[in-house]
Point group: C2
Chain length 205, copies 2
């Protein structure tokens, strides 16, 4: 359970790699003075991250033009040490701080949503039933810059107090990872449709 | 990318099952008026959740006696629909709202930390190098009640507009899950130590 200062990393390559590895994010906003942490999916384009949701969403309305914190975390392993104190986890995380901005032009929104869908499922957008103006209107897209950002990560074996290495206690790492399983077709798929080949290459984490 | 109102669940059995399935939590606090979302591990005991960290942690100091939001989320699948709008994810999440309280009595802290370690790794605490008073002092344990809580989840196949089911578009779910891989012993383990049997039963999610 060690929480001694871990390595903070601020280089953009590290930050971008973590953001790109994991769409699940937790967005913090302040509503009536209290924090609210909402899980959502994020995607990155250049120097900004984006997320979206229903135009009616309280979280999105509380985020637009207000300070937010968007955090992406990946759990990579459980670290078992020889003392309780040095138990830890291996992880990668990014925290972005800044003001959320609403994307207003419908054409920009549509382009961004397309990048989001095609980013997860390459080439999918073109084959879908086109988005309607009503759907676009019902969808809010928010963004924030990647400028006030930090990455933190831990990897590798436990770090014990030197004297404790002599103890006959099993120590080590139990790696964990997000696995993508075999796609389950919708029972209502038309008989002639085939699974997109790109879905088989899908990886998270 | 549908964010139409999903099923909210408030029953304690659902909330507890999600908290117990996933130690990774995201804790939201407010620092200087702005939200901060920090990944940490939580554990539950009865009607409260607990988390801990360094006594020097800014997050923990900003949480104690202040409103916090603790969110636990599990991504269970990617949901591909016939329109972009109805794309979604399968997930389970819990949001807890309330005031964080610091556990002050050293004996309580130690008991709780033991429950945390033994909760993840049954029987581990007894075999560890004992915690020192200094380590206990350097560790802050926080808790909050599970009273203002909600669970949200989505499962199952995509839900498309009725007319879209006639389209020849592949739709379905790509399940994802957190896998626990084979433990990696610390290279500095003493040759005689054996891996604890309980580690092989470890599951997350």
């Amino acid at each position: 359970m060690r929480r001694l200062p871990e390595r903070g990393r601020y280089d953009r390559a590290t930050i971008d790699a973590i953001l790109d590895a994991m769409p699940l994010a937790h967005v913090g906003t302040v509503i009536d003075g209290a924090p609210v942490v909402t899980p959502t999916l994020q995607w990155r384009e250049g120097d900004r991250v984006y997320w979206h949701g229903s135009a009616a969403s309280r979280m999105l309305r509380s985020a637009a033009d207000h300070p937010v914190c968007l955090t992406v975390s990946l759990l990579d392993g459980l670290v078992l040490a020889r003392s309780a104190f040095h138990h830890s986890v291996n992880y990668r995380s990014v925290m972005l701080f800044g003001q959320a901005e609403k994307v207003s032009a419908p054409a920009d929104k549509e382009r961004l949503l397309r990048a989001f869908v095609d980013g997860l499922y390459p080439g999918r957008w073109t084959g879908l039933r086109p988005m309607t103006p009503q759907e676009l209107k019902a969808t809010t897209v928010l963004s924030m810059p990647i400028d006030e950002a930090s990455a933190k990560l831990r990897c590798g074996p436990p770090k014990d107090d030197e004297a404790d290495y002599a103890l006959p206690i099993w120590a080590g790492v139990v790696p964990v990872q997000l696995s993508v399983l075999a796609p389950e077709p919708d029972p209502r798929n038309r008989p002639e449709v085939e699974i997109p080949a790109t879905l088989k290459d899908l990886r998270l984490g």
